[in-house]
Symmetry: C2
Subunit: 205 residues, 2 copies
Amino acid sequence: MNDTPPRDEDAHYRERAQRKKELIDRRIARATIDRGVFVLNTGNGKGKSSSGFGMLARSLGHGLQCGVVQFIKGSFATGEEAFFRRFPDQLDYHVMGEGFTWETQDRARDIAAAQAAWEVARRMLSDPDYDFVLLDELNIALVKEYVALDEVIAAVRARPERQHVVITGRGAPDALIEAADTVTEMRMVKHAFKAGIMAQKGIEL
Amino acid sequence: MNDTPPRDEDAHYRERAQRKKELIDRRIARATIDRGVFVLNTGNGKGKSSSGFGMLARSLGHGLQCGVVQFIKGSFATGEEAFFRRFPDQLDYHVMGEGFTWETQDRARDIAAAQAAWEVARRMLSDPDYDFVLLDELNIALVKEYVALDEVIAAVRARPERQHVVITGRGAPDALIEAADTVTEMRMVKHAFKAGIMAQKGIEL
């Protein structure tokens, strides 16, 4: 026996939605700081770079002036480069890496390429004309110590107040995680490549 | 006392790089299956949708024909919509959700909107003219049972062999994870919003 009257599902739905709306509205009201953010994507899963390029698309959609430096990929991910090269008025796009390091097999050349990329990145981080800066795979250069971590943190901290910066790559150093506003670990649950499926245009390339 | 001769750092670097290259080359040689993949982005962190839109940019860069259905977001993420609407020849873009459900507070209307979105998605999944299909925030509609999970899995499994599909949203059901080729859990390490920073154009909006 259950004396509870039958529940009005629609009223219940409205109440729950109303409570959720109030919670979200309170959170939005509490978020009053308006400045550029530092977003960091790391972890061993797919989506670190593609999320950065998705934010780049959003930024271009809002008419922001954008800069991209690709630190490591040179031979990979040609699709995004082909696409974003269509917007030279809004986007300053630099591909500095010469492919993954196991392709070049020359440490001095890898360091020189990473340092040249970092010089371009540092210029963007000091220039208020850039609203959005994507430093793709910079973490790889930091892990390999081709670029100095303290220089990167100092340049990111000193950047123009309204400028957004997104840094990607696996193995983000702890001090960089500490310095960032938003950090996501892209965790691999599974990957098509491990099941024998070739890298696909539009997905990986 | 240590009789080991001084290490040739450069030779060591080349050897390691060479071994890594051989490992990667063997893996690439083993990946012989060439077909469309199903990519699933889930978890509570940032980057699920923006990664989907990054893959969309890559696909457009390769000249692929693309379709997008946004299931839940209507009032959010206006930047990506403004941007991708510029490519009507290559991209069929549908925003079907009427904002997050706690904004509408009307269950019947939410279900109708999700079902209408799913009908558009199902049409794309059965049409070989679409090379790449992004079903943004579909997981939310599945969790809320606005769209039937078995229908989605059947439609994804029966899609054209070369077609890529990307599904995003937190709380992906286990059966969908099972059906996918590549699954990433975007895990929130920290988020600017929780530190009181407003949602930013180009980053969240």
